[in-house]
Symmetry: C2
Subunit: 232 residues, 2 copies
DNA sequence: CCGGGACCGTGACGCTTGTCACAACGCCGT
DNA sequence: ACGGCGTTGTGACAAGCGTCACGGTCCCGG
């Protein structure tokens, strides 16, 4: 197992900290390997500390009594989970569950709070991350509030294309490791609607090809543009 | 005009700071009186600094090309506006407009950033506020994603009852200074749907009386409960 | 090679809700 | 008192979408 320090240095939220601070944090971290479906916490639980995903994937979501789910975020390697309620003392606002076998680092709340108060760089990094998350949520809220399913899906594909796509002559290529069920919860709709929306995007030439999980789509800008115009 | 220091001390986000820091911030603030409909900023504008509402009301919202609007927050006296993009350097994610004549304090970005980096108390206060906002957004997202209009409205009324209601034997009394049009944008729907949802809540005994802007509603817990259960 | 389970596609149906249209009401200034 | 304007109630209608039902495909293990 490689040194925790090396891993943490790769984590964006900690990237700019100097070696001394990272070592300090790493010493307090509890690494943990878990399987798929491990529950990090549930909505309403008191906040125990900060998780960082080292490997694997964590889905953060809210669920309704009827069983429908709205995922708020999907975090992969190097991303922090649930940094939000560390500060206002409130409970976690959502559930968090691994969607594949994962390795996590856990930093107890007291340790983190101490680092936050003594090192302004830590504080800045956290606020930076919070700002990003907030920005993303506002965006998500807008699309859920007044875009139809096809447009929301186009937005989502644009995000994935941006973050993991490779541009070719015929469009942007990437692998979408999601079931339609998962996509549905990310845009707040039902699985069947995702299926129909995919076909709709294909007929409009926004999805150029789709073989299993391999997608070729139009440039993100074009996708977002189409979504914002209301799909025509 | 009373001293800006006195006003800032009443602002929750600054309340815990010591007198020296408040005086420093106040000295950098630019107070400003504006009419109704004054545009603080528009989505996409680069972030110039932090506004604090001293008096009046500011509505923060996103709008679609077709003209529909989703309000993200409504801020009253003592509340900061747009603290979010100060840090990640990005643009404002939404529009902000006064909905009545207001007095605002404006703190240029550089000043704020300096305070943030030198005083951990400022940083803690900001993160606290951000956390709260994020929590609220997650909640809002959930209701928009899988609650019907009546349930969303019940949630909204519960919030208002909590923050400005007075409890009596027959229910919680408060004045709702909003048009149905404004309510509609707060829960992401159309004005007519609000009208119908109000009637629906009344028949279920959740709104006990409604004369002009004076409302008498069931206890907030009961409202939220009904909304979460899916309205029965 | 077979069987089962997860995932995907698709048709039918009904409910919610956005939209349009219009009437009624209240408030305010002249 | 009157007229106008902003706000509200309500009816009709169509579109979008969630839900149910079912059949198809693919993969993997026995």
């Amino acid at each position: 197992m490689s040194s925790l320090v090396d891993v943490l240095r790769e984590v964006p939220i900690f990237a700019e900290l100097d070696a001394r601070v990272i070592a300090l944090l790493a010493a307090r971290c509890v690494p943990r390997a878990v399987g798929e479906g491990f529950v990090l916490f549930r909505a309403g639980d008191p906040c125990a500390g900060l998780y960082v995903v080292l490997e694997g994937r964590v889905r953060v979501f809210r669920s309704s009594p009827e069983g429908r789910e709205q995922t708020v975020a999907v975090e992969g390697p190097g991303r922090p989970v649930a940094e939000l309620p560390l500060f206002d003392g409130g409970p976690y606002p959502a559930h968090a569950v691994t969607t594949m076998p994962s390795r996590l680092a856990f930093l107890p709340r007291a340790e983190f709070e101490h680092a936050f108060r003594t090192d302004p760089e830590v504080a800045a990094a956290v606020v930076h991350a919070l700002g990003h998350r907030l920005r993303h949520l506002v965006q998500l809220l807008e699309t859920v509030a007044f875009r139809d399913v096809a447009a929301r899906l186009a937005m989502l594909l644009a995000d994935y294309a941006d973050q993991s796509g490779r541009s070719h002559a015929d469009g942007v290529h990437f692998a979408l490791e999601r079931t339609q069920e998962e996509l549905a919860t990310e845009i707040g709709t039902a699985r069947e609607s995702v299926s129909r929306a995919l076909k709709q995007l294909a007929t409009h030439g926004l999805i150029r090809s789709r073989k299993g999980s391999r997608f070729v789509v139009a440039p993100p800008a074009e996708l977002r543009d189409w979504a914002r115009r209301g799909g025509m």
